[in-house]
Every structure is written in structure tokens, then in C-alpha cells.
């Protein structure tokens, strides 16, 4: 709080009809009670009735005085506030000033207007400029003419696309999206195993382009990524092409406007585009996982910029993925799984589940290599029109799963000693060439629903995977 002079202080703005109304009153008070310090939030020429109005268009005084309504009248004695009035109330103002006939012919009561300090986003700007945000991150001071987007590139903070410069004001707004304290440590980010605070997540979420209401999702994504079974270190460091894929279930997906329908894995939706990017920027900037350094990917894939979507839960026919994991539809969850790309299954002709499954089985068995059973995992994404085929035939998700499981097998004689070879098989299995080995013996074969309602497509998101590491993880989003 700045030093304030004894006497009366008034804070007004011309844009407020009540301030306009009481402008002559302020003149009268100045005349009869001695000097009144008047701060004007929008026009230093207002009110004309008082001399020496202080220009507070920058709102520094209003911020320090904690003004939320104008007009505000404050009484200061010995440098400290002793009383405050907001709006206009004749009796109150008369009592406050001791002027018995003050505003005798004015209306009895008029509410004030919102102070300019209360305009959307203004609080963050004012705390950043005039206050103490209490944030711990290093403040990098740059000249007024600095091109902040270019600075972010120069400092190596971006994934190659432009980022939103993490100003203090934006970070404060982002932190308002969560109740968690900025200083809370949410885990150790690989590869450098660095303690990551809520504040660092917020900074990177700003850069990724998130809106503050995504923060609970973003924080849960980071936490889920640190569940050991997900294997974030392996995912970021591997020579494989995999990226962390974010799937959101539950009410929050709709609340933040995520896309589960048309072009679900494509561009055009802010939440889909930025939530996954936040994780990648946290890995890059906090964990130090840089491509070409500890990230040894031979190809990578465009999903390493960002890969996020919501599961389509609109149709009640099937359980959702989150329900399959033991959550309810009322719970919001984040599921993370590795993925290296989207392979469409195009089947415009099949009209029965059995016919469709024929297409699915052939596509799924071919994942990576028709004769590979080790370390392969998939999310089978059933598109809108294909879903209808199963619903109409009365097939549950489990029915589909059972039907496919029975057919997604490869005889030992067909498993080639290629990339993963027979290494994962037991001696007993190897001894019997007719033995049928499940294609997805990692256990990582899952079925989800997403995509546009028109068009007979499904899709496979493939990935390397294993039973003990590199497998999907699901975590509830706690608001």
C-alpha cells in the first residue's frame, strides 16, 4: 500500500452515471471540508468541479486502494484508512462528511459502477505491474521493443511452432484455473527428473495456448504422465515414433469444448490442440527432453507437437473407456497412451458386425508387421457409422471385443524372428508351431469411440507397448 495523505479520497470514472451525478457534490465537499484527493480512472478532466484531479488511467492508485466500485469515498487519518463509502447514499455521505445538507436535492440512493480494476483480466495485469504476484519463476526483463515470440524461439522454449509469450499476467490468469497452490510440486519430470510445480505447468500451458479452464485437465495430464506404467521417460527417449496421446472422458470434455466428433484427431479445436502440447512443452522445458538429444526418435510423428481428443460419449449404447476402467460417466478423467499415428480402416460396404470385423481383423493383424506379436498395442477407434452397425445388431462393446480377440491370433509358425521375433515366447509356445498367439499379448488392445457421424470409417492408433511399461493410464480430474 502506498503512503496516503490524511483527509478524503474519492475514486471516480466519467463512464459511471453515479459519478457524473455526484461530481458537483465532490466540488462542494472540497469547498467545505478542505482538500479532497480525487482519482479519475478514465478522464483526468473529470470531475470539472474539483481542482487537481489525479490521472489514474493506469489504475495504479485504484489498485493499491483496493477499489472495486466507483464512486468510492475514503477517509484517511494518520496515514491509515478509517472509513469507506461506495456508491451514493445521501444519509451516509452526510454523516461521513459531517455536512448535514449535502446533496439535499439529490436522489436518496444510487448504486455505483464497477471500478475499471474489475474489468476482465485487469486484476492479473495490475498484480503483474503494481503488485507482488508471489510467483517463484525467474522474471526475464526485456526491453519494450522486444519481439516476445522471437525471444521464445531464441531461448529454445518452443516446439517449432510459435508459443504465447508467458507474461506474468497470463500466468496469473492461468493459475486462476486451478485451486492448487502455484508452489505445489506435482512430480519429477523426466528425463532430468526435475521437480515440477503447478506454476511451471501454468507457464507452459500459457505457451501452449491453453485457456485457464483447461488447467485441471492439464495438471492431471502431467500427473498421469508420471505414473510409472505409462513410461514417459521411455516414450520421450525412444527411437520409436510414439508420442503421448491424451484422451479426455467425462463432463469436463464438454465444459471446455473438446472435440470428439468430426476431424477428431485433426486441427481446429483449441482444447484438443493445446492440452497435449502443454505436456510436450513441460517435458521440453522442465524435464529437458529435447529432440536430437535424449529424444532419439528416428522418425517421430506429428502427434509429438500435440495429440489430444475427447472420447465420444454421446451415445449411451456402449460403456466408455473410462467406465471400462472403473470410473462413472459423472467422473472426468484423463487417459494417456502412447501412439505413433492414425491408420484409418475404410469399410463402406459392410452392414453386419461380422463383415466389419473381417476388415478390422485384417487391419489390426497388420499393425507394424503381420507376423509380429511382441510389443504392439492399439487403440481401435470405432467411427460413428460403424458404431451404428454394432448398436443395431445389439452387440455390446464386450461382444465386439470377444469376437475380435478370438480372431486376433497368429500361429507360432507364422511369427517371424524379425524385429521382436520369438523372444517373448515361452519354450512351450515355441515348441508348437500350431499354437495360436494373441496379436496383442501385451494386453494393450482397447476399443474407444470417436469421429464424425457420417462416413464408414474406423481407425487404429498404434504404438509399441508392454505389460509392465508403456501402457495406457487413466487418472481422475479433480477440480
Amino acid at each position: 500500500m502506498e503512503d496516503i495523505q490524511d483527509g478524503l479520497i474519492a475514486v471516480v470514472k466519467r463512464d459511471c452515471p453515479t459519478c457524473e451525478l455526484i461530481a458537483p457534490i465532490l466540488g462542494e465537499i472540497a469547498e467545505q471540508c478542505g482538500p479532497v484527493t480525487v482519482y479519475s480512472q478514465d478522464d483526468p478532466a473529470f470531475p470539472e468541479q474539483v481542482a487537481g484531479v489525479i490521472d489514474d488511467r493506469e489504475l495504479e492508485h485504484s489498485f493499491h486502494l483496493g477499489i472495486d466500485i466507483v464512486p468510492t469515498l475514503i477517509h484517511v487519518q494518520n496515514g491509515a484508512e478509517t472509513a469507506r463509502l461506495i456508491g451514493w447514499n445521501r444519509d451516509e455521505w452526510q454523516e461521513f462528511t459531517g455536512l448535514e445538507s449535502l446533496g439535499a436535492d439529490f436522489p436518496e440512493n444510487r448504486p455505483g459502477c464497477g471500478s475499471r480494476t474489475e474489468e476482465p483480466g485487469m486484476q492479473y495485469r495490475l498484480v503483474a505491474r503494481f503488485g507482488n504476484s508471489g510467483l517463484a519463476a525467474r522474471r526475464i526483463e526485456l526491453p519494450p521493443e522486444a519481439d516476445l515470440e522471437e525471444i521464445c524461439y531464441e531461448r529454445g522454449w518452443t516446439d517449432g511452432l510459435p508459443v504465447v509469450p508467458p507474461t506474468e499476467e497470463r500466468v496469473l490468469a492461468m493459475l486462476d484455473g486451478t485451486r492448487r497452490a502455484p508452489s505445489e510440486v506435482i512430480g519429477l519430470i523426466p528425463p532430468n527428473l526435475i521437480e515440477c510445480t503447478v506454476e511451471k505447468v501454468a507457464i507452459n500451458a500459457v505457451m501452449a495456448g491453453c485457456s485457464p479452464d483447461y488447467m485441471p485437465v492439464v495438471l492431471t495430464v502431467i500427473e498421469a504422465s508420471l505414473i510409472p506404467e505409462f513410461g514417459l521417460h521411455g516414450i520421450l527417449a525412444t527411437t520409436n515414433a510414439i508420442a503421448p496421446v491424451v484422451m479426455v472422458n467425462g463432463p469436463i470434455a464438454k465444459q471446455i469444448g473438446m472435440n470428439a466428433k468430426r476431424n477428431v484427431f485433426g486441427q481446429g479445436n483449441r482444447a484438443n490442440a493445446t492440452i497435449g502440447r502443454s505436456l510436450q512443452l513441460v517435458v521440453r522445458n522442465v524435464g529437458g527432453g529435447l529432440p536430437g538429444e535424449i529424444d532419439r526418435a528416428v522418425f517421430g510423428n506429428p502427434g509429438k507437437y500435440t495429440f489430444g481428443f475427447a472420447e465420444d460419449e454421446e451415445d449411451p449404447h456402449w460403456t466408455t473407456y473410462a467406465e471400462d476402467q472403473g470410473f462413472t460417466r459423472d467422473q472426468s478423467t484423463v487417459t494417456l497412451f502412447p501412439g505413433d499415428g492414425v491408420t484409418p480402416i475404410i469399410d463402406h460396404m459392410s452392414r453386419t458386425p461380422e463383415e466389419l470385423c473381417e476388415s478390422y481383423v485384417n487391419a489390426l493383424l497388420a499393425t507394424y508387421n503381420r507376423r509380429q506379436v511382441n510389443e504392439v498395442s492399439v487403440m481401435l477407434v470405432i467411427g460413428g457409422e460403424h458404431q451404428q452397425v454394432f448398436y443395431k445388431a445389439g452387440w455390446s462393446k464386450q461382444d465386439l471385443r470377444d469376437y475380435l480377440d478370438e480372431r486376433l491370433v497368429i500361429p507360432v509358425r507364422d511369427i517371424v524372428p524379425g524385429r521382436s521375433g520369438l523372444g517373448g515366447l515361452t519354450e512351450e509356445e515355441k515348441a508348437d508351431p500350431d499354437r495360436l498367439i494373441p496379436k496383442f499379448r501385451t494386453g494393450n488392445f482397447n476399443i474407444i469411440r470417436a469421429g464424425g457421424a457420417a462416413g464408414k470409417y474406423s481407425a487404429i492408433i498404434s504404438a509399441i507397448g508392454s505389460k509392465t511399461g508403456l501402457r495406457p493410464v487413466t487418472k481422475e480430474i479433480v477440480l
Binding site: 519463476a137 525467474r138 526485456l142 516476445l148 532430468n192 511451471k200 507457464i203 513410461g231 527417449a237 511399461g469
Partner: protein
């Protein structure tokens, strides 16, 4: 354009890398214990088996270790054990 200084918050870990020098390489393996760490990636073990053979032929003590999975970091206890039991360690990737 604003005449005000601009401020960005640092998104990074704000740490300086610590350069740790390699320990001195032994001039000879005679009398030393060599640890061979299988990172559990296929075929690495074939390379380690051969090393084991060659080292053992020369009368060098060899100890074998195995990580749970190649994509996971070695457990701190395992690293501690290798450090305590060996003078030299070799880990192998051979696929």
C-alpha cells in the same frame, strides 16, 4: 508501442547443468571385477554373453545384472549394487 519494459516468466527448470568428469579409466582389467548390465533389450544379452566369455578366459571376475525393462530407468538399488560390487561396468544395446 508501449514504452514499458516487458517481463516473461521462465518456463524452464532454471537449473545449470553440472558437468561430472568421468572417473579415470583403469589401465588394465587385471584383478578388477567387471559388471555386465543387460538392459533387457533383445539381443543385448548375446553381446554380453560373448564379453563374459572373453573376460572370463582372461581370468577377470564378471558379475551379471539385469534391468527390468529397457524403456525404464535402472532402479537406484541396482545401480548402487553395481557400484558396490564392481570396478567397471558395461551395458549393451545390440538389436
Amino acid at each position: 508501442m508501449s514504452t514499458r519494459e516487458q517481463i516473461l516468466l521462465d518456463p524452464t527448470a532454471e537449473i545449470s547443468p553440472v558437468m561430472t568428469p568421468h572417473i579415470a579409466r583403469p589401465g588394465s582389467l587385471d584383478g578388477l571385477t567387471v559388471g555386465l548390465l543387460d538392459i533387457a533389450k533383445q539381443r543385448g544379452v548375446e553381446f554380453l554373453d560373448r564379453l563374459d566369455e572373453l573376460l572370463s578366459e582372461r581370468g577377470i571376475t564378471v558379475k551379471r545384472y539385469k534391468k527390468e525393462r529397457f524403456s525404464k530407468l535402472a532402479a537406484p538399488e541396482l545401480l548402487k549394487q553395481i557400484k558396490e560390487e564392481c570396478d567397471v561396468a558395461v551395458e549393451a544395446l545390440a538389436d
